[in-house]
Amino acid sequence: MEGKKIRVVIAKIGPDDHYVGMECVAQWLREGGIEVVYLGTNQRVDGVVKAVIEEDADVLGLSFHCRGEIEMTNRVITRLREENAGDVRVIVGGVMPHESVSKLKEIGVSIVFLPGSSMTDIVNCVKTLYAEEKE
């Protein structure tokens, strides 16, 4: 992993513009030395998958506020696998009930961040995730 920066794609899919948390995460990741490809809000599943592949991302971060976290994440992970990009780690954050955490992990999400998560923790988790993958 020497020399190569971790690359993270960040996006919000569907009708939901609660972007503040996602922008803060992007900022903290950048300050933590991580390369961020920020797609922003109103993204579509195919567009996100395409960006992950084209940008050769290590991690995909999806943000949710108005729900849809299980269905949309499932659609993205399925598409990533179809495109032979199933090794990309997916992290999810935002407003959702606690029970969504285990459901998201079942469908292949590595980490879930609920409201009140610290930015510093998120950066550290992404770095640890990447380090584990390289081992």
Partner: protein, 557 residues
Amino acid sequence: MKKKVTTGEDIFLQQSLKERVTNFTTDSGIPVKGVYKPEDIKEMEYERNLNDPEQYPFTRGYHRDMYRGRLWSMRLISGAETPERQNDRFRYLISQGGNALDVVADASTMYGIEPDQPGAVPYVGHSGCPTNCIEDVDIMMKGIPLDKINICIQSLSFPPPLMAYILIAQERCYDLKELPMVAGIAQYHCPPIIPSLKFSICHKGHFSTLGRLTNDFAEYVLRNLPKWTFWYMDAADYVDAGANAILEGALLISCTKELIREMLRRNIDINVVAPRISPNISAGRDFFEDIAKIRAIRRIWARMMKEEFGAGPKGMAMRFYARGIGSYMEGRQPLVNIVRGTLTTLIGVLSGASGIQTCSYDEAWCPPTEEAAKLALRTQQVIRYESGIPRVADPLGGSYYVEWLTNRIEEEILATVDRIEQMGGWLAAIEKDWIRSQLRQDAIERQRKVESGERVRVGVNCFAEEEETEIRVPDIRDEVTRYISRYKRFKEKRDMQKVKKALEDLSRAAEREEVDLVPYTFEAVKAHATFAEIVGVLRMKDGLDYDLLGERSYPFS
């Protein structure tokens, strides 16, 4: 002699007893002294700067009697998963003493998309009530006395839900001239905080076709529905998106100028429009700063309406409702939010709000559950009926600190308003992305303070607990499935020739700039066009895809 053992708890207690205030700036960064004295406000003159309530410059309130004349309306937001459940919630709130009904729409409504399309289905009913066709509004309002209660439908900038409400009221034989409503109309504030919805107001630096409909509808309401108040600006949304008190105040004033100018361009008298518009303002970030901010905005508003627009006293008196900031409610240790809700309610009362919305304690997790909504209402009722606080108007008026801070914030707001004016005004500031970049900067700055612990969040970055209290978010899937089936049936039952004709007429009307879009939109709603179909047709006029999500195309091409 036994030596006393010092435990970790002892050390904590010793430190706690020696604690002192260490932060000497307000939330927006204004440095404050430890005490304020007469010399800090020596330039002030009572008549010029303060004056009595209902007297220019209205710093102390909009009415001479304030709460002795009329107490504030208790605006409790709700957003049930279906119109049927929303109707239950309305009835419940009325039965518990609520006197104002606010319904926030879900993502399908707010984005003008069909609730049964694939990209919308996972979001339907989760963040508010789906309100997508006239039948939804009819069901939601079943048995509600529309002339006796103050209703607010928050559908952002799309007029069709409100137009459906008018048609239903007419069908139920209400006199439109007597119908009270706080309606979300001409919400020019949306684009910077909801970038995907920019099309609902502007396109390439001008009003979009949907923006034109929203303006036409605003004009219709001003001319035909004398008891409707425009809730045209959710300034608290800016605070949720990061803004501090100064930026919030400046955005509120600049956005108001744009709305007034547009209505004047339409030959509406300033004394018709100014008294009818009412923004909301946030409460909750910083107790005294919020109160000072509201007083400062009231003074700026009065001077702007008088000097710039020539309004009479009714237009100079700003009425507003105070809204608790959703993002101020924490996900961790959620019951602590009841205390935060109390503080925000107090800010509203001490500032003379004509309506107050208290966030429910489960705000960080889901739209208010019944129990949480009841506690938010009870919070207001304790302050309203038990505390004695509402007895006197502007009770903090004359405080050296509050008056100094009001003056200071007023100066700062005016300087930012000037900047926006020099940029070319509200629409130009949106087009240049200036507002969003300011919000982003403020949001990151605020989060930095939370991370460092400089901005204390009890239960989050201090006094945190390992074990988290879980909020039970209701499982609404079955209800939503039933809703979507009903919605599909509504569409199947329609006379498609009528729908087609109404949408084509609307589309043709939109081609001619001088044509009022309101009658054509009413016809479309009457013909049972869905709200998404109306939005889609008007999007196409600006060269945009029919469907925001790119999943559907215009059904009649």
